[in-house]
């Protein structure tokens, strides 16, 4: 079975500090991994995704993530956060079930950036 675990439910960080949001996955098949961001009272927006190739993936708003097959991880990083990065971040696994594709989401990490 495929699953995604986000280890931290909340991550408080000061503005301009670096941040890492952790995500581990479990899968026995091809891996498609995504990070989505949800700003307050909005829908989800793609930050970045890993399909294959280079294990370091760069996304929007200065975020990047590294796919690590041996550690089954796909952690999200940003070297310097801004107040506007305050949001809920979801790691997700893209896979097939019953002939259809779906995203399996982690439980989310609330990133709170403080002055």
């Amino acid at each position: 079975a495929q699953s995604v675990t986000q280890l931290d439910s909340q991550v408080p960080v000061f503005e301009e500090a670096p941040v890492e949001l952790r995500c581990n996955y479990s899968s026995s098949v091809s891996v498609y991994l995504f990070w989505y961001v949800q700003y307050p009272n909005q829908g989800l927006q793609l930050l970045l995704k890993y399909l294959s190739g280079s294990t370091l993936v760069k996304g929007i708003n200065g975020f990047e993530a590294e796919f690590n097959k041996s550690q089954t991880s796909f952690h999200l990083r940003k070297p310097s956060v801004h107040i506007s990065d305050t949001a809920e971040y979801f790691c997700a696994f893209g896979g097939l079930t019953g002939g259809g594709n779906k995203l399996t989401f982690g439980t989310g990490t609330q990133l709170k950036v403080e002055l």
Binding site: N41, G43, K49, L96, G98, G99, N101, T104, F105, T107
Partner: protein, 113 residues
């Protein structure tokens, strides 16, 4: 231009009522989805449709009935609403492979009193 739109944005209703949520996408995608986000922000797929055909039905009570009149629309009708149906419902669309990005609507916040 809005890529994935949902109406209404907010829905407050009494237990036992029937309500519908509409979703439209103008991205030319062949696959559309409904997700439910509970009060703890957990997101779970409910249904997916590919070219108007139901592909995924994730153990959702049959009070929930999706309908896809064409590839650009996927509506969700809910009968006999219960308190536990209170949640945010997101529509999404994509091309039909697991590697494709799913594009989400703004959500419909349903509150059942």
């Amino acid at each position: 231009d809005t890529a994935v739109s949902q109406t209404p944005k907010y829905l407050v209703t009494q237990m036992g009522n029937d309500k519908s949520i509409k979703c439209e996408q103008n991205l030319g995608h062949d696959t559309m989805y409904w997700y439910k986000q509970d009060s703890k922000k957990f997101l779970k797929i409910m249904f997916s449709y590919n070219n108007k055909e139901l592909i995924i039905n994730e153990t959702v009570p049959n009070r929930f009935s999706p309908k896809s009149p064409d590839k650009a629309h996927l509506n969700l009708h809910i009968n006999s609403l219960e308190l536990g149906d209170s949640a945010v419902y997101f529509c999404a669309s994509s091309h039909g492979t697991p590697a494709e990005t799913q594009y989400f609507g703004p959500g419909t916040r349903l509150l059942v009193l």
